[in-house]
């Protein structure tokens, strides 16, 4: 039996009829065609499918779409709204924080949640926060560098009003 759900995805209310067994990741990719959220392992290990639910990183392959009813979901597609890269995206580009790019959306969303909680993380904080996101290319060194660099950028941005607006958008 279908359930009607309304989920606020990247700021827009989306209403759909879904089967209870539909996973959040399939709702995002197949119903909404937001394919930036990747399916890596399908077994709750890799973190490629990480999205923010009410601002908290969640493996979207391990949550039912019906459970997101009435909630806010943020995917990688929201980051460069307006065509300007989010500081975390700019930092991943600048620091070569990606090789094949498959894990990158999950890495970036987990990083954003970390930086909102700890704007000035240590290397340990970053490694700890990202320990549920696996990079098959093993590009961890540059991923950590990118998150550090984004932290600096976002702090600097927060000090100037127009940039603060851009950072707050995330």
């Amino acid at each position: 039996m279908g359930h009607s759900i309304t989920v606020t995805v990247n700021g827009e209310k989306k209403t759909a009829e879904v089967e209870p067994r539909l996973l959040l990741v399939h709702f995002l990719r197949e119903k909404l065609r937001l394919t930036g959220t990747h399916i890596g392992c399908d077994t709750t290990h890799c973190g490629a499918c990480t999205v923010l639910v009410e601002g908290t990183p969640v493996k979207s392959c391990t949550m039912l779409a019906v459970q997101a009813d009435g909630q806010q979901v943020t995917t990688v597609e929201a980051l460069a709204a307006g065509g300007t890269l989010h500081p975390i995206q700019a930092a991943f580009k600048q620091e070569h924080g990606l090789q094949c790019g498959f894990c990158t959306p999950g890495m970036m969303l987990t990083s954003i949640a970390l930086l909102q909680e700890k704007p000035d993380p240590t290397e340990d904080d970053i490694r700890w926060a990202l320990s549920g996101n696996i990079c098959r290319c093993t590009g961890y060194m540059n991923i950590v560098k990118a998150v550090k660099s984004a932290a600096v950028q976002m702090k600097t941005a927060a000090a100037t009003p127009e940039a603060a607006t851009a950072a707050a958008r995330s």
């Binding site: 089967e19 391990t62 320990s131 549920g132």
Partner: protein
């Protein structure tokens, strides 16, 4: 991967959830954090006809201490345990275990009670509750009963929980002064199940051990309470000889199986070493250190 089809019920209250379980019986499963259940559904190791989601019942997310008891609700998540200053200051074995559960993203959703009810022999919280001598409140539509953690587990992924019951509360004896604990876990990588883990909870009474709790993870068909080691510690001075004896008894209590994580002898030895280290760390903490 898609789970087999099921009906979904978002319960608004515990009474509603219990009513649904009463009607649906074995066809229904409670969905809390879902971090073990949803993978099982996807792999089709489980295919219940009905899921009763309790995530909307916000009052089930609680931790409170009073009247000599620490009470934890069914929606209290690993992440909240990891950040709890109450656990960090007085329930060290829980504070140690919390950040070692799975990985940070899973900890955002998974719950302690869900993990305990799942009863994976490699699960960490059951072991911690055995060391703490916790009680579990099992509630159904027709009433509730309380069982000791040691009587709760009945085998791999098996407990005495009836299909119509919910694990509605975890009760832990409130930490007395001079209490310390530790949880030591060996894992090959973040997010892997434990190769071996040991939980220690120690309450000192002057210069002697008042009571000691020791739990073992991943070295038997269920989480194990090392009762002979606990008995050897009770009333004893915690010198090196006592620690060695208790660690040897804990290693004897383990029933490990050889697998890709290690041989029987290796795992048993890790139990011994971790019990020694855990007792020393717990003792330090009971004395106000580390």
């Amino acid at each position: 991967m898609l789970p087999a089809p099921f009906e979904y019920h978002a319960a608004k209250s515990m009474d509603e959830a219990l009513g649904l379980l009463d009607t649906l019986g074995e066809d229904a499963k409670i969905l809390a954090g879902g971090q073990s259940l949803i993978p099982l559904l996807k792999l089709r190791f489980a295919s219940p006809a009905h899921l009763v989601d309790i995530n909307g019942i916000k009052e089930l997310d609680f931790i409170e201490e009073g009247d000599g008891t620490l009470r934890i609700g069914p929606l209290f998540r690993h992440k909240a345990a990891e950040r709890s200053s109450l656990l960090a200051s007085r329930y060290h074995v829980m504070a140690d275990a919390a950040p070692q559960i799975a990985d940070p993203i899973i900890r955002n959703r998974g719950t302690i009670a869900g993990s305990v009810a799942h009863a994976d022999p490699s699960g960490d919280w059951g072991t911690v509750l055995l060391a703490l001598d916790a009680e579990l409140v099992l509630r159904s539509k027709s009433g509730s009963r309380t069982v000791k953690a040691r009587d709760f587990f009945s085998g791999p992924f098996s407990t005495v929980l009836e299909p119509t019951e919910v694990l509605s509360e975890i009760r832990i004896p409130a930490a007395k002064p001079q209490t310390g604990g530790a949880y030591l876990k060996l894992e090959r990588k973040v997010g892997d199940f434990a190769t071996v883990a040991v939980a220690v909870h120690l309450q000192m009474d002057g210069g002697k051990v008042g009571s000691a709790g020791i739990g073992l993870t991943a070295v038997g068909p269920q989480n194990i309470k090392a009762e002979q080691a606990e008995a050897a510690l009770r009333g004893a001075r915690l010198d090196d000889a006592t620690i060695k004896e208790a660690a040897a008894l804990a290693a004897d209590a383990a029933e490990p199986k050889a697998d890709h994580r290690g041989s029987v002898a290796y795992k048993r030895n890790v139990v011994r070493v971790f019990t020694e280290r855990g007792l020393k760390r717990a003792y330090e903490r009971a004395r106000g250190g580390g």
